[in-house]
């Protein structure tokens, strides 16, 4: 299991989530599931408040595939904000992203709800689709389940999704706290190695040197570092150097090459390549964008006539 999936599993077991899930299900009559990014089964299968109509459809192979495809569409569309999609039966399915920094680590999923009252025409369209797929299902049971589907008004449903979005932010904070706790709980050797890197990133740091300083073999150090941080030693060092470089790039008096060597890169080409790889833009583009933003902030602040003390002062000086 990868780290994100493990984090979602821990959130799923947390009291915060359990209490919310219980209250949400009881209050709305809708299912709620918290899942990692990759999934291989239906979100609400066998869960409390699963729509009986959906449960019947999911018993068939073709129906199950259609439901999975709908859930996948919702998840694909929910990159930064909640997304709602509709299945072949007209029921809504929503995914709300859980983010750790700028990375999506999982989704809150709810739905199996109609925004229209069930109608004979609606059921006819469903049976037509099932016939096209060659799906054999007990139609009288399906019809009874269809007419008992939960129906919400557009405002009720969008209100629920808003509540989920707010709760998702709570989960994001909880996930962040877990990550921080984990970082603090990492093996002393790794903590010392990270502290060493933070203090010496500008010098050439060899893997053998740092392993030797930690009194372990290079192989063991690499293995432990990777296992604990999820990154190789070289990747971690590269990231630290790029982060330091980003700070220095805000100073317009420093040349890019000067910054590259200051933060420990031995070659400008390597610096440019890694910077682009990690930030999606070149150092120069980053500097231009940051400078424009700083100038904009400075302009706004001067319009509002803020005193030149506090955090704004630096921005104003930079823009000058």
């Amino acid at each position: 299991m990868n780290k994100d999936a493990y984090l979602i599993q821990r959130l799923d077991r947390s009291d915060l989530y359990k209490e919310f899930k219980h209250a949400f299900r009881a209050g709305t009559g809708l299912p709620l599931t918290l899942r990692a990014v990759n999934f291989w089964d239906l979100a609400h299968r066998g869960q409390p408040y699963e729509n009986p109509f959906c449960a019947l459809i999911a018993q068939t192979n073709r129906g199950c595939a259609a439901c999975l495809e709908t859930e996948q569409r919702a998840v694909d569309a929910a990159k930064d904000r909640p997304a709602t999609v509709r299945c072949f039966a007209g029921l809504c399915h929503t995914a709300v992203p859980i983010k750790l920094g700028d990375r999506t680590i999982g989704f809150l999923q709810t739905g199996q709800v109609a925004l229209e009252l069930p109608s004979p025409a609606g059921f006819e369209a469903i049976t037509r689709q099932l016939t096209d797929w060659g799906v054999a299902v007990d139609l009288s049971r399906l019809q009874a389940a269809y007419y008992h589907s939960r129906v919400l008004s557009p405002n009720q449903y969008s209100g629920l999704i808003q509540l989920l979005e707010i709760f998702a932010q709570q989960l994001c904070l909880a996930a962040n706290q877990m990550v921080i706790q984990d970082a603090e709980a990492e093996p002393p050797m790794i903590r010392r190695a990270k502290a060493y890197i933070a203090g010496h990133y500008g010098d050439p740091i060899g893997l053998d040197d740092i392993a030797c300083a930690m009194h372990v073999s290079t192989y063991y150090f690499c293995k432990m570092f990777r296992k604990t941080t999820g990154l190789t030693f070289t990747d971690h060092l590269g990231r630290i150097r790029v982060e330091k470089a980003k700070n220095l790039l805000l100073n317009p008096h420093l040349r890019v090459s000067e910054i590259a060597y200051t933060v420990g890169f031995q070659s400008l080409t390597h610096f440019n390549r890694l910077f682009r790889q990690l930030t999606g833009e070149s150092p120069t583009q980053f500097r231009d964008r940051a400078t424009r933003r700083t100038k904009g902030t400075a302009r706004n602040l001067s319009v509002r006539s803020l005193a030149p003390e506090g955090p704004a002062a630096g921005a104003l000086r930079l823009a000058a």
């Binding site: 509709r86 809504c92 109609a114 925004l115 229209e116 009252l117 025409a121 557009p154």
Partner: protein
Amino acid sequence: MKVFIIEDAPQTRQELVELLATLERFEVVGQASSVREALTGIEAAAPEALTLDISLPDGSGVEVLKHIRRRGWKLSVVVLTGNLYEALQVKCQQLGAVAVLDKINGLGPVREALLAINPASETC
């Protein structure tokens, strides 16, 4: 502007009434929850705009649109459906609907569509 609401779900109908009550130049002059009620209600109330649900217990809102067109009534129609697909959108637009909206997005877009209606330019 006089508005007639056609929607079979009572909760959604109530939300539309509340929405229109917040808009200054709009007044709800009637409500219907089926195609039959809609056709008689529109004739009696003579509205200038409609919010029209598609899935109704005795037929489709598209039938209402067709009827309006046949009778030559000058109305701005905002379609609001809980099951929007492309062919339906095209059909409603061909029949003169000023907006075809999905209930998935809540009632915010309905408000915007109603406010965008120019009283002098009914389309149906």
